[in-house]
């Protein structure tokens, strides 16, 4: 950090020094995590492509129109959107080093996440109960793979959230914990971005079809 400030006055070229100065711990974590998210994005892109190809193959089984309840999906979307903004509040309180408030908002985020998962599992249970299992048709296979993968991400996000809440409770908002919370923040908002794709392509366009 200090090197950049002296660079303007001295005539000596400093490119080498800037390249080789030691990185503080965690300096590249954010970029690395972002690149992980981008690779996750490719996974979802392939699942979307699979759904796009197979989504119309009902094998004389139920179609999106028969299965999807848009009111439930709207409720689910609301849950995830609310959890995004409450995570944002957690980050804002974290910057002010208010541990209690951060924990509070993280807990609220977790509850919204749980509500999202609960509603999604209810929907899955309902569909499977009606015989719309992943084995029924190519449409349902690709549907459960895509939406299930997203749900699995949310599940692991929740596990991560609880872990970080316990870490923060025990060690406080240390530099490492802040970094971890920022990574989870990116992960959580990223899942909301993926969900925009899901509710648009799978649910809304599925019902329109």
């Amino acid at each position: 950090m200090s090197i950049a400030t002296v660079s303007t006055q001295s005539s000596e070229p400093v490119f080498h020094v800037i390249d080789e100065h030691p990185h503080p711990e965690g300096a590249s974590t954010m970029l690395g995590f972002w690149i992980y998210l981008m690779s996750d994005c490719l996974i979802f892109a392939m699942l979307f492509a699979t759904y796009g190809v197979l989504g119309g193959n009902y094998a004389a089984g139920p179609a999106p129109k028969d299965l999807f309840d848009l009111k439930l999906v709207a409720l689910n979307t609301t849950m995830l959107l609310l959890s995004s903004i409450t995570y944002g509040f957690a980050m804002l309180t974290m910057e002010k080093s208010k541990l209690g408030a951060t924990q509070f908002w993280l807990a609220i985020t977790g509850l919204f996440g749980l509500a999202f998962l609960g509603i999604e599992l209810t929907e899955f249970h309902h569909m499977i109960h009606e015989g719309a299992t992943p084995q029924r048709s190519a449409f349902l296979s690709s549907f459960f793979t895509l939406v299930g993968t997203h749900g699995l991400h949310v599940t692991f996000g929740l596990v991560w959230l609880v872990t970080l809440m316990m870490q923060s409770a025990r060690y406080g908002l240390t530099v490492a914990n802040r970094r971890r919370l920022m990574c989870l923040s990116m992960f959580w908002h990223f899942l909301d971005v993926v969900w925009i794709g899901v509710f648009t392509f799978v649910y809304l366009l599925g019902v329109l079809r």
């Binding site: 796009g52 848009l70 709207a74 944002g88 329109l208």
Partner: protein, 127 residues
Amino acid sequence: MTSDSHAVHGDHGHHDHGGAAHGSLKSYLIGFGLSVILTAVPFWLVMTGAIADKAITALIVLVLAAVQIVVHMVYFLHMNTRSENGWTMMAMIFTVVMVVIALTGSLWVMHHLNVNMMPVHDMSQMP
């Protein structure tokens, strides 16, 4: 750190909080408000069938989704061209290119396969 101080330090050779520049309460609330609108409108359009033409409805829904993704990227994920000296943006542009190639390529190829394979051709007649 607010986005303002981020801009001030933007010309440093290196900064350690790059990937996730922080938002302010205002930016989060703006993003949330826009997201609510951009979510509610497509659901309303599809659930009420306000526009009779399904193709136009689908197009509007898709455009709104694209706008909402950008809103989330900017207001929640704090994407900008400065963080990590632009490397997050580079990684994202690369990913978007990959996604577009993979998605359009898959759909295009599979659509043509479907179209060409659907009727039972007499393959012995093929050159």
